[in-house]
């Protein structure tokens, strides 16, 4: 093995800056939680995000009092912003699970310093996503009708419906993501317990860490459970966006009834999720000076994943066009060529092709991938592009389906925007709280990246 020589320039950059020890890693990451003051930027950022989050409360109140008529949805377009934003947020969440589960199974050590952050993003994105169908129901206090429970009229949810599958998929996804995140936190909270100077916090962390003491037997069960969770979360994350795409693909509406939907939705989800991770992690890394752990190699790798999944998504768009033409169905052909490309929402379609198809191609250049400003702007454009994609899918197909007499335009109202911007505020508020109150990088896993963490020599395997 030693004889194999790899040329210096071909070796990947290290995933952690050289010169770190167990103590320096622990100190640097935990300092944000334990010793650093609330920075001015953090306070201002949280204040702005929280103000936007209040827009969510206001919009929710308006809709709950006045009903869903406050949204722009109408007779042909029954799924407006609510479903667009639901799919968008759920998709964003998928990158977190991909990083924490799939990259763990693939033994990608660079995932280690971004998995906690990405998982938190997943949780908060799923929380935002869940709000949309809930409010869109119109009578959210009856949400439990979606769950199978014994009731006096002896009815069960219609489990042949993709909308019911969605309930199961999304609640399972939220539960599993939460547990994955919490399990990862246990050893790090034990570290906080042992480092904090405050007696009160010692009790708080002591209770939260459940008395974790790093026993070898415990670690063995822990690793086993963590690996199994990763193995379970991997098919789960693929299934969630597949089920979301079934909401459309099982219907017979032109533009929805297509078998390309599941893979293309999953790729789109990962694409948008990585874009959101980059949008968030670039400023956080700069603000908390975490360049030692979130190196340029991390950004480079994430940009590559974004480029690859972006190409899959673009292939999906090309396929939709081909299918429409090849189907010889005049409804499908009109949907693609008449409606999407030249119809009333054509600007959305062409903006989508620009944002998701063309702009990410800049990431073929290594120089561009390593330029944080370019990467940040591309990631925001991709976020917008993926939102446009969901808008195109939901709205154009419903606005102009089979009968021209039943066509109608969709215009979102101020409450649609309020609710959407409100969830962005809610999401960012949670992210601000997260980076300050929880170690944003998994400390115990970063320790394992250090060269001295592995037992050496014959001792290891006797």
């Amino acid at each position: 093995m030693e004889a194999r020589v790899i040329h210096e320039s071909l070796k990947p950059a290290p995933v952690i800056a050289p010169g770190h020890t167990f103590e320096s890693v622990t100190e640097k990451i935990n300092a944000v939680v334990l010793t650093k003051k609330f920075g001015f930027g953090w306070i201002v950022g949280l204040a702005i995000a929280f103000m936007l989050a209040n827009l969510l409360l206001l919009s929710t109140a308006v809709i709950l009092i006045g009903g869903v008529g406050g949204f722009g949805i109408n007779a042909p377009v029954g799924w407006g912003f609510d479903i667009v934003n639901f799919v968008w947020w759920i998709g964003i969440g998928h990158a977190g699970t991909l990083i924490s589960a799939i990259l763990l199974l693939l033994n990608q050590s660079w995932r280690t310093s971004i998995n906690r952050f990405a998982e938190a993003m997943t949780l908060f994105a799923v929380a935002c996503a869940g709000l949309f169908p809930l409010i869109h129901m119109g009578r959210p206090y009856f949400f439990y009708w979606l769950l199978p429970y014994p009731n006096v009229i002896a009815l069960w949810p219609q489990t042949r419906s993709p909308l019911v599958w969605d309930v199961f998929a999304v609640t399972t996804y939220a539960t599993v993501s939460l547990m994955f995140w919490l399990v990862g936190l246990i050893p790090d909270i034990a570290t906080l317990r042992d480092r904090t100077k405050s007696t009160v916090l010692k009790y708080v962390y002591g209770i939260l860490s459940m008395g974790w003491r790093g026993s070898a037997r415990h670690w063995h069960n822990y690793e086993s459970a963590y690996l199994l969770l990763a193995g379970l979360a991997t098919p789960l994350v693929v299934s969630v966006h597949t089920v979301v795409s079934f909401d459309f693909a099982v219907g017979i509406i032109p533009g929805w009834h297509s078998t390309i939907f599941p893979p293309y939705f999953v790729a789109g989800a990962i694409f948008s999720g990585f874009a959101m991770v980059l949008t968030l992690i670039i400023p956080v890394r700069a603000y908390y000076k975490m360049h030692d752990f979130i190196t340029d190699r991390h950004l480079d790798n994430m940009a590559k994943v974004m480029l690859a999944t972006g190409l899959i998504v673009f292939y999906g768009y090309a396929n939709e066009v081909f299918y429409a033409w090849y189907s010889a169905s005049k409804w499908e052909q009109y949907m693609m060529f008449g409606n999407r490309m030249q119809g009333p929402y054509m600007w959305f379609y062409w903006a989508l092709i620009l944002c998701n198809g063309l702009v990410p191609q800049i990431l073929w250049s290594k120089k561009m991938r390593l330029n944080v400003y370019v990467l940040f702007i591309v990631s925001i454009i991709v976020n917008i592009g993926m939102w446009l994609e969901r808008f195109i899918i939901v709205v154009t197909s419903l606005a102009q389906d089979f009968l021209p007499s039943s066509w109608g335009m969709y215009y979102p109202t101020v409450w649609d925007f309020g609710f959407f911007i409100g969830t962005i505020g809610f999401f960012l508020s949670l992210m601000f709280l997260f980076v300050r109150f929880v170690p944003m990088i998994s400390v115990f896993e970063v320790r394992m990246l250090l060269p001295e963490s592995k037992p050496k020599g014959a001792a290891a395997h006797e």
Binding site: T21, F22, E23, T26, P148, A154, W156, Q158, T159, R160, P162, V164, F168, A169, T172, T175, V176, M179, F180, V183, P187, T191, R193, D194, R195, G206, I207, M210, G211, W212, R213, G214, S215, A216, R217, H218, W219, H220, N221, Y222, E223, S224, A225, L228, L229, L232, L236, S239, V243, F246, F444, E445, R447, M448, E452, S453, P455, A459, A460, E462
Partner: protein
């Protein structure tokens, strides 16, 4: 045995701290070879070799997860079939009552849900957590175990345990420090 009061204080075990994982693994292997069985190692991150060295080879978690996953899947499928075929048959979209392919997504999701919940709850319960107090916390340097310390504790409950002898044995393993842990 002398009659000094402090030697009669109840003892949980004797703990040795090591500077690096290699010394800990060697020490754990030597202790196991010397016949000690009731011992545990404490490390700031998982080290698979240590668990094997102290004789912990198999985790029960995978078996529990398998059982829970199968249970969840069977439960989800049977309850959907029962609701659609027996309890409230309805013709939906001209499909048969037992339109089983339509039951697969929920069967899959519930399988994952049961398995994942069991992985987490099972791991915590098998580890005997939550347990806010444990005798090893009495050791004054034990807070390093979640940061950069590598500990091996031979428990007084081990039949081979002898206060002096075990202490000398641990001292021979190149530790940074050896100390008694009160129970």
């Amino acid at each position: 045995m002398s009659d000094r009061w402090d030697e009669k204080a109840p003892l949980y075990g004797i703990i040795a701290e090591f500077d690096n994982p290699t010394d800990l693994v060697v020490a754990a292997e030597r202790a196991y070879a010397a016949g000690y069985r009731k011992m545990d190692a404490y490390t700031p991150y998982p080290i698979e070799e240590v668990a094997h060295a102290i004789g912990h080879h198999r985790s029960l978690v995978p078996l529990l997860v398998l059982i829970a996953g199968v249970t969840g899947g069977v439960f989800a499928f049977v309850s959907q079939w029962w609701a659609a075929e027996i309890d409230y048959p309805l013709i939906i979209g001209g499909k048969p009552f037992n339109s089983w392919p339509m039951f697969i997504p929920i069967t899959f999701e519930v399988t994952i849900l049961f398995a994942a919940l069991t992985a987490v709850v099972g791991m915590i319960l098998l580890n005997g957590l939550p347990l806010p107090y444990h005798p090893v916390f009495n050791h004054k340097r034990f807070e390093r175990a979640t940061q950069d310390g590598f500990f091996l504790c031979i428990e007084a409950a081990d039949p081979m345990f002898d206060r002096t002898h075990t202490m000398n044995f641990l001292k021979s393993l190149n530790p940074r420090e050896v100390a008694e842990v009160e129970s």
